[in-house]
Symmetry: C3
Subunit: 433 residues, 3 copies
Amino acid sequence: DTGAQRFAGLDYEPMMDVSDDPVRTRVNKFRVETEDGKHRFGIRGRLMTDYAFVQDPFTSTDDEDADDGDLARYGTIIRRARLGALGVMYDNWEWQLEVDFRDDEVRFANAYMAYLFDNGRLAVGHFKEPFSLESSTSSRRISFIERAAPVDAYRPSRQIGLMYETLVPDYYAAIGAFGGDGVARDRDVTEGYSLAARASFAPVFDAEQDLWSHLGVSANYRANAYEWDRSGGDQKEYESVRMRTRLGTRAVDGRMIGENDMENVKDFTTVALEGGFGVGPFSVQGEYIRQDLNRDSNSDGFDGEPGDDVTSMTSEGYYVQTSYFLTGETRNYRPFSGDFGATRIQSPLSAGGRGAWEVLARFATADSYEHHNREDRQKLDHYTLGLNWYPEDDIVLKLNVMYVDAQRGEDGFGDGRKDWDSMVYAARFQFEF
Amino acid sequence: DTGAQRFAGLDYEPMMDVSDDPVRTRVNKFRVETEDGKHRFGIRGRLMTDYAFVQDPFTSTDDEDADDGDLARYGTIIRRARLGALGVMYDNWEWQLEVDFRDDEVRFANAYMAYLFDNGRLAVGHFKEPFSLESSTSSRRISFIERAAPVDAYRPSRQIGLMYETLVPDYYAAIGAFGGDGVARDRDVTEGYSLAARASFAPVFDAEQDLWSHLGVSANYRANAYEWDRSGGDQKEYESVRMRTRLGTRAVDGRMIGENDMENVKDFTTVALEGGFGVGPFSVQGEYIRQDLNRDSNSDGFDGEPGDDVTSMTSEGYYVQTSYFLTGETRNYRPFSGDFGATRIQSPLSAGGRGAWEVLARFATADSYEHHNREDRQKLDHYTLGLNWYPEDDIVLKLNVMYVDAQRGEDGFGDGRKDWDSMVYAARFQFEF
Amino acid sequence: DTGAQRFAGLDYEPMMDVSDDPVRTRVNKFRVETEDGKHRFGIRGRLMTDYAFVQDPFTSTDDEDADDGDLARYGTIIRRARLGALGVMYDNWEWQLEVDFRDDEVRFANAYMAYLFDNGRLAVGHFKEPFSLESSTSSRRISFIERAAPVDAYRPSRQIGLMYETLVPDYYAAIGAFGGDGVARDRDVTEGYSLAARASFAPVFDAEQDLWSHLGVSANYRANAYEWDRSGGDQKEYESVRMRTRLGTRAVDGRMIGENDMENVKDFTTVALEGGFGVGPFSVQGEYIRQDLNRDSNSDGFDGEPGDDVTSMTSEGYYVQTSYFLTGETRNYRPFSGDFGATRIQSPLSAGGRGAWEVLARFATADSYEHHNREDRQKLDHYTLGLNWYPEDDIVLKLNVMYVDAQRGEDGFGDGRKDWDSMVYAARFQFEF
């Protein structure tokens, strides 16, 4: 007798009836679907292995003691290792449960269920707050090893929340409410919340001509997490706010923006203006991001002297990047989600070809020079040249050569130096399944 | 040539022969089974996303400083995110390997192999100690957002152990021996052990009439973990014993029972008396739980003054809860395992229906007022009204409105107050696959 | 309409086309393969549950305070719980992503992609450095509960790196370069690197006669991780080097070798000489391992007095083990990878047989008596008798009875004793899927 029959009278879960659905199966990017399309199941993951080397050929600058010691000279890391399941149940209920194992820690990536309407979806769970062209694009699809400095520094994290977004061909709009950050295990903290919205459309789009364009705007208001300070009366003690970006790689951990947290922040609003254009193998994209932070002068630890302790600060930045596929491919811009999907390789290695080759350049700048502590202010100009090789769909080798030009306030980089500039060489090998 | 043939002479694992079993496949709750039923494989998981809001409208009470600061006003958490594999090998070897990613930490849920006999199973690995109707019921199947306070506080955790349990239609009996708790990485600790047993049957059961009943008893003896205290001679130093329950939600972390651990505990015995009854859409269930703790007056840190430091303590509690399906469903009581399985929805959304609607009420009380430290004793009365919506099988939205009435010893809740009462509003969205 | 058709114009990932590959499926050890063999996907895992009991019947010795307190008397652990996916894409790209959940922590096991050439593979990612017969053999396939003491103590860990290895029938050769250890989150540490090579062949091999032999050699050079010590000038501060082995079980954590780390180590070279021979149910294997460590006399914390602080040290050890299958099986030696694969059971339980029964004996010795700190030197002789029962392929129950005879320098085991000997009883139940 079969397993299902063996303890059949007992409703014993390990022996649950398997029922023999007629199915379609896809092996690469494993998916199984019932023939009526009402149920789907899949396993997916990604692995990104990075190496970086930091060189400082400029004897007139000081790269020592970027923190309280030297930076590492080189490093290897598993930047992202994600494993998860996804599916659709009962025709309209789409879900993911994906875990991120980078850095020896465990975090959630996507962990949600969404109800699919005819022209949109309502999601509840843990996912990205809708914000920015580059932030919305999956880490599997971004052009460089890391996202541009201002996006990396100022974008919101994934959070637990509720979001409605459109699923229509020509434009994208999303609105959501999200819970808060920095709460891990501190039971006294009220975790803050955010309201987030993003909208974009393609002024020009012609898939047959390989022509696309993108205009978008994102806005995000976040009320900061806090706990009440009992000893000091009814004052709130806010969680530190950390807006951080590094050298354009995580394999060496040099914190160029956000080395020092911002304190007493009550709330902050972040906006992004997004643009992009592509024709055939050529594309350009850019974004301007601005973050206005309000500090609570009644909060615990606030100085109280207006001259010494500012009540508002602005950080901002922008980037422009361009890409050219030497082998003729086109970036896969998707108007329905306002982001980029996978580029399909014209002549993969497995078909006897040379894969796709892409050359890239980017300038990015991030400015957190308005810091409540003058000693902790920071600025970064970041120049990157890139070369990507896609031997097959789903496999990429990236090389980035970067020049990093950073400035700090009185606190400096050590030995009294306030300027730091250096070459950074980084490589990534990534695949997805 | 196929992969299997390519390095065939080499027994190279990634190219292991796939062998083309004739299979049955189920997509929703992914399972694959060989046609002879001897081998099965599946992937399963669950995701529970919670939100809670704590209100204190009672100006005569003090909800400040329930710990050393205020509680959070609200919170969002991923309460359980589990992902794992399960299967059957060689007809009789059933296994699971399931990981729990809640709270940014990783724990094991079920991780075991069991040999299936004709009328029972012998399991070795990590799984629940057999105890209590509500504890034995999967978190996917419990009626409220959290288990009743005395079950949550006093029930044993999952442990590594050995267990035999019956697999027969009409009753359930289990006996097991388990290793210990609180050993993580402390190499000097001898981890304790437990002996656990549970038995239940259905005095009245008629599936066709939607009529069920449950009577059960559980008992658990645990010898506490300890290390030898060399400096103090041959005395044992016992691990702290933590019997904790919160506000009826984990999204705000208010520790109503078990705020303070019990020290010098040598061993403890926990018993549960279980009862339940259901007819059609109506059901009621309840349990009484009692825990007797013995303290070792020769152990390190014990006061030695009999008047100051008691040698035995009793905690106890009970709950009664009732449920009514407005849409006519019946709770899926399973006499063979003495717990509840999934309720099957009569008119799901995907079939044009409204899903299942269930209204619930519960009273629970837990009493840890016998504490060796008079200042740390605690009591809790917990009232809950609930509404559950099951749009489909495997998907539930829960709303719980709770009134919490707690008392403490001299240590109090801050400002000298020994009473705390508050409204708590909690919501959960959960799905399983 | 099917899911794939529903949002077809939108390239919406959750509704990605499933495409209906013609497939082969294997249920036990779940694998799916396209009929042309170009794509494969699988899920795999292992679970090892251990119990150990430590007895000290020798009143003339002192087993107290092996650390700063007594060892635990007994313990239960999940020694390895691994879950992961693996596959082949586009015919030539083989990959794994496997996570290890032992000890409540998360680590990576294999996480790589390799390109398959006709006679070899080039891998990038996280995997074992090629070293030693016993280290190269999967933990699922080793004979005893733990690897022999000198292998366990001196072998390299898995690292991020690049490796080429042969895939030919008669011999094995591998060469690789790897990044470093001990970097977790310390941003100032430059992580070190290693160069690793291994080669082996079978002087005599006749599969039909169940006759095999193995000769191999491994060598590994590792430059140690360091950070610059700014306050002390240009001196490097090296990471501590930990070469550790325990009692032959991890369920009780007694550190017999490597209780104390080695400091100021600049680099070290480890070599292994490997041999093995088997005929029918009988086999013997053994290895000699030697590790030469160089210390940097200019590094931070180095004493500077040549008599007090040595500049080089050697650790070494060897083991010999033998096995006999009472039920006639043969160890599955694989010349193409220079390691052992799964032994195939002749008469499994599910076919009405008694499974396979194997008796084993091992002597292992490890000597870290050359320690820069005379008080911290350590030696270990480790004797093991073993009994393995394989009821089915992929399921093993192991029993090990061990006698441990250890010595330490002035620091001792407590109460001034420098000798420690004890019986250790350990059991494991493991399965893989």
